[in-house]
């Protein structure tokens, strides 16, 4: 196996985690703004 492939095999998971983190944070921010606009609880 090529070294870069092996490196990517290990590092792809934190990159994926970062992607999910961004998606979730953006979604919660959107929900928070909507909740404030509609004067209701976020949860």
């Amino acid at each position: 196996m090529e070294t870069w492939i092996f490196g990517a095999y290990i590092l792809v998971w934190p990159v994926l985690s970062l992607g999910v983190l961004v998606v979730l944070s953006a979604s919660v921010m959107r929900d928070l703004r909507a909740a404030r606009r509609e004067k209701r609880d976020l949860i």
């Binding site: 196996m1 070294t3 870069w4 092996f6 490196g7 095999y9 290990i10 590092l11 998971w13 934190p14 994926l16 985690s17 970062l18 992607g19 999910v20 983190l21 998606v23 979730l24 944070s25 953006a26 979604s27 919660v28 921010m29 959107r30 929900d31 609880d41 976020l42 949860i43």
Partner: protein, 557 residues
Amino acid sequence: MTDTGFYQFSPLTILLLLAAFYGGTYLLTLLIKSDRQGTDAFMVANHRVGFGMGAASMTATWIWAASFYAAATSGYTYGLSGPLHYGLWGALMILFIYPFGQRFRKLAPNGHTLGELIHARHGASSQLILAFSNVLGSLISLMVNFTAAGALVSVLSPLSFQTGVIIAGIGVLSYTLTSGFRASVFTDFAQLVALMAIAVVIIPAVLFAMGGPGTIMDGMSTLTAEQQNLFSMDAILNQGAPYFVAVLAYAIGNQTISQRLFAVNEKHIKRTFVTATVGYAAIVIGLGMIGLMAVSAGIEPVNGDMNNLIPQVVSTYLPPVFIALFFILVIGSLSSTADSDLSALSAIVMADVYGKNIAKDNADPKKMLLIGRVTMIVATVCGLVFASFALDILVMLVFVGALWGAIVFPVIASCYWNRITNAAFTWAVVVALIMFCVARFDLLPMQGFTALLFEFLAAIGGGVVIGLMAFGFFGVRIGAIAGVIAFLATAWFGFHFLRDYTVLMASLTAYGVSTLVCVAISLASNQRFDFDEIGRRVNNYDDAGAPDLTKGTATAQ
């Protein structure tokens, strides 16, 4: 660093870290308005949790302390494919349940627990079997998470194991007690953000502190051929397959998942659970890679205990600030799961025990909330006591796993097939458990006709597992075809072979037997069930004026 191989924080530092974590979490929960607290909010946040919060909560709940340790152990033991065979199948537990979750929501829009739905479908005995399995599972989970807190505190500081257990128990209870499930979901988001951010930093940090991909690659040459093989049969048969078999069982048997299926805004169920699947896989497989890196670097776990592996690697290769981050990572993961278990247990006692079996649907909402909070306190005390005694839970774990496996077909079939009866459900579980025990504990010598019989039953179980998974996504026809193909394949490869893999064969036997018994007894009955009854029988417990979700307000936002 001590001669044990672990970095040691001072007691004050550890106490400050714990105070910052639990204090911060508690302050967060003060943002939740307690004047809007009804039983529905306490158990399922009024069925209106948004996508971001829901996905974060599902991910954080499913990641417990053991996830990291087990994934790393798998990486250390099975090499290249090891982390995948832990993290991937664990992630699929979240993915494969959502099509069934959509069905549960359609049948019981006002539901709080899966037990309520089964009570409406069959009555008390089936419901209490499910509730009992849920309670056992959550109590075990609580105990394991508190134990992990005690172990971590005692490894990274001079503080005792019991100190860590007690602080974790009181910390989790303090922020969950007032707002219940809402607090659990709200804090899960914050805990997951911290958890992911730390994982994103720690995994590359360990890789490059060990010398980078090139150095680890060189170390790979010292591993066995199986450890170097991404498609290792050793890893598949000993780690992947038994875990794969449990995919539906863990999801059905766990109230923490069904609670979120009932809580998430109905139109967001699919993307919530798909995102949680990816999030869980990324974090757990990523941290499992530390095990792979450790075995490649020739690290031996201290005292031969695999649970020491990650703390040992972090202590050896990273500066103290990273060790503190790792400490928060583990405390965050175990706390998010423990608060979900407390919420799950309180919902089961509130709805399944008090609501359905004591108050008989005339529940007093105030009394119900009190019961929920008292349940949380009792459950925490039980978790602390069990964790402090460091009980051997292996037998209990085996039993709960079998129970979950045995209820999968009866629960799912009860939601789709109108001929399943209460007797079929109950006897299917009882007979499957007995046959599981025979196979798992070698109560009969596994040779000759006996072994062939159990391999046949296991092959049926294999067909049921694959068939149900395909059915969830593609419907009856594809499910049946996939099930038959899986049965034939398992029979072809399994005869004279499965008997050597006791755990796998026993698990598959539980699925196969429960399906056979459930179908046979149901076919012998003329009973037919009207599924619309479930929606009428599962209601909100709050006073009149609470939204009636059977009228379609579940998706209104």
